[in-house]
Amino acid sequence: MDLVLLSRIQFALTACYHWLFVPLTLGLGVVMSVMETIYVVRGDEAWRRIARFWQKLFGINFAIGVATGIILEFEFGTNFSNYSWFVGDIFGAPLAIEGILAFFMEATFIAIMFFGWEKVSKRTHLMATWLTAIGTMISAWWILVANSWMQHPVGMEFNPDTVRNEMMDFFTVAFQPTAVIKFVHSVCSGWMTGAMFVVAVSAWFLIKGRNQEMAKKSIMVASIVGIIGTAFCMFAGDKHGVDIAKTQPMKLAAAEGLQQGSNEAAFSFVPGIEVPHMLSFLATHDWNGYVWGINDLKEEGEKQIAEGKMALEAFRTYRENRETNDSVAQAALATFNEHKQYFGYGYLDSADELVPNVWLCYWCFRLMIGCGCIVALCFVLGIILGWKDWLEKYRWILVLFLIGLPCVYIAGQCGWIFTEVGRQPWAIQGLLPVKAAVSSVSAGSVLTTIIIFATLFTALLFAEVRIMLRAIREHNDK
């Protein structure tokens, strides 16, 4: 297999594994913090036991999240060394800030949270729990700033003498709308995951007729956190759609399998079932808004590639002559500046390369939304049934809560697969294709590390799930 594909597989593998654990950390962090707050405010021992139980599960999950995360950071260097230089001036900063601001906060206060129950006061402990949860969200902020920048690069300028992009405006990079939207969407999907996890585990207790009081209280808190998460997640998802239509039209076209652009684009729920004009509305908030199709974008792409090749050629001339023949170099630089917007397209050979995997984008997008709706329904039912104290009355709804758990994970995974596959062929949208971003290592080496990580992470995942199940099964709330 070729190096580019293998490098992508390795990154995808580690990212997907990482995202199995991170959303639970994000969501469970909030749920357990709310529970501990109730304990501190009311002084009720029952809430203390509840909070501690979920914190224990948080700990099991947190460890493996950390383990899978460290690889990702370093993979930018190990597998994408062109990338690391070409945009490292911008991209490194959020990673460093994440470490300084967030990781130390998590690492420090999680130790107090776990081992400090008898060493610090109630309030200090509560603060530590919240700081752990907030730390996970600050961390999410900065890594999503980095990812958003890959989707929508802003605030930088190409420097022809260092052959890289350099940061011009930090605040644009750190707070661009794409990043804000992505943060809300991803973190709230994490809240949904954590909340769904709590609801599902509690439902299992109720089905088994064990720890009922704890389960009912947990479902109430989690459903509320979950429904808030869902509301913001949907709101941001809508904004995300409009943002993608502007900044990554090909991703949107691929998600819909839309071949021809249209002012009355229909949204298809599944092939064959369509609502006219709905895609136009979702993408532009106007029932007759224009949505680009794959073929139109390919036509555009032909021109962009031609310009990109001119830019690349002019840039080569500039680099070859800049020390020997100043006038030739300056002329080449002027040509380059004229076309430099499409510099990255110069690496592509044909417009066909511009189209990501339509099948994968189409289905991941639908699975994400479909599964997300089931999860949202669970939260609504959780709140109503919890409020009326009917939870034990409707066993089938408890079974639905159990089904919600795989759904929330499928939704999260599909969301990321869609957003990353949809960006292809780019590592950084419009700036650097993945095939020009990789390191010069042998395909065999990458294949070997893929096998090592796949084996290790799978083994650890099995261990983690078993430990989790045992901890749940053996839990006795008294």
């Binding site: 099991i60 947190f62 460890a63 493996i64 950390v66 383990a67 899978t68 995360g69 460290i70 370093f74 930018f76 260097g77 190990t78 060394s81 062109n82 990338y83 690391s84 230089w85 490292g88 001036d89 490194g92 900063a93 990673l95 460093a96 800030i97 994440e98 470490g99 300084i100 990781f103 130390f104 906060m105 998590e106 690492a107 420090t108 999680i110 130790a111 107090i112 081992f115 400090g116 008898e118 060493k119 052959v163 350099e166 011009m168 690349l312 080569r316 390191s439 010069s440 290592v441 590390t449 290790l456 083994a459 650890l460 099995f462 261990a463 983690e464 078993r466 430990i467 199940l469 045992r470």
Partner: protein, 379 residues
């Protein structure tokens, strides 16, 4: 703040983070000996729970070190990680094993059994410091790479590693291995001093003290050998015009031209030695050894890394192509990014302060079997 100042400043920060990481590898050092220091299950639980309250700091420092290096010297990140692929991958691999080992080792249903996870800790305890030391050795001994920014335009890679071993060839140079083993012994020395401070169990403290009698002298010998070698060897120097030449006794010259760095280096070494002596020969106050040695380690490693990068030195020399060697000016981020990150770095003292507060709060009394028996808050 000039561009030049910012480059030096960021090298100082990266060096400091690297040094803190080496110091915090006392976790690894103690883990490497977990089966020797603890003879009963009770004792092993004590040891695991003692370092288990600190491991995340070590891990986080490694990650932040990576992030800071990326943000400030991206060409190093690009060249070394992509080139010396296997060294870094194996290092990460060992840290992945460690990250789950604490949480999983004593939990029912952990699939592989307690001993497997303890071995994960031991593997990381040895290979973590060994690979770190070996990799850092190449900062002085050099590595096999060529850099051409223009090659990116031809559809190639900015840097090529000229050894097919992709980093593992570093082991072929005995001096890299010397530093690797030296870091292992340092980690063990610090780990033993930490255990003497943090674990309240006489048999373990006795064993730790005996271990220290072996590990500390081995560390000192390896350290002196490596430092002696570095001070006698030539280095890659950056000229005024940016060209790179090989200068005899470059590192010795660096010390002589930067007397403050040299002085701090000496203070660091003395502090480490004081720490060891206190741990070994002051039976009434052996607990105090750790902080002397820890502070000394931070000073020594920071100054050693300053020696590698400051004063116009190539901190990542290439013997495949001298002109490709990395120094602060040719590998750093833009002035704008370094300045922005300078302001971010002003948060660091605040971070250190809350870590210190948490550390003090949690470590007021050493951990004991009695405590572990009473509490559920343990691994």
């Amino acid at each position: 703040m000039t561009y030049l100042f910012l480059q030096q400043y960021w090298w100082l920060l990266v060096s400091l983070l690297g040094a803190l990481f080496v110091m915090l590898m006392f976790v690894q050092g103690a883990n490497a000996l977990v089966l020797c220091l603890g003879k009963t299950e009770d004792e092993r639980m004590l040891l695991v729970n003692s370092t288990g309250r600190k491991w995340e700091l070590t891990f986080t420092t490694l990650v932040t070190f990576g992030g800071a290096f990326f943000a400030s010297f991206p060409l190093f990140y690009s060249t070394s990680f992509g080139g010396a692929y296997w060294v870094w991958m194996l290092l990460l691999f060992s840290f992945v094993l460690q990250a789950v080992a604490y949480e999983f080792q004593n939990k029912p249903g952990n699939l592989f059994g307690t001993n497997t996870y303890r071995w994960f800790l031991i593997i990381n305890g040895i290979f973590g410091p060994l690979l770190t030391g070996t990799a850092v050795g190449t900062f002085f001994t050099g590595a096999n790479f060529q850099i051409s920014k223009d090659s990116m335009l031809m559809g190639n890679t900015i840097s090529e590693w000229t050894s097919a071993w992709h980093g593992l060839e570093a082991v072929a140079n005995p001096w890299n291995v010397c530093l690797g083993l030296c870091v292992v012994m340092l980690a063990i020395t610090l780990g033993l001093l930490y255990i003497m401070r943090n674990v309240d169990a006489a048999p373990i403290r006795d064993r730790a003290r005996k271990g220290l009698m072996i590990a500390a002298p081995m560390f000192v010998v390896l350290f002196l050998l490596f430092v002696g070698y570095v001070l006698m060897k030539s280095g890659w120097a950056v000229e005024e015009d940016g060209s790179i030449v090989i200068e005899e006794y470059k590192y010795l010259h660096n010390f002589l031209q930067m007397p403050v760095v040299a002085a701090l280096f000496l203070v660091g070494v003395i502090l480490v030695l004081i720490g060891v002596v206190v741990g070994l020969f002051m039976p009434s106050k052996p607990r105090n050894g750790f902080w002397f040695a820890a502070a000394g380690t931070v000073l020594t490693v920071t100054t050693l890394l300053l020696l590698a990068g400051w004063n116009g030195t190539c901190y990542y020399p290439s013997f495949a192509d001298t002109a490709s060697s990395l120094h602060l000016q040719n590998s750093c981020s833009s002035e704008f990014t370094l300045r922005t990150m300078f302001f971010v770095s002003l948060i660091i003292p605040f971070v250190l302060a809350y870590i210190a507060w948490a550390w003090r709060t949690m470590d007021k009394t050493p951990i004991s079997s009695a405590e572990l028996q009473q509490t559920e808050d343990k691994y």
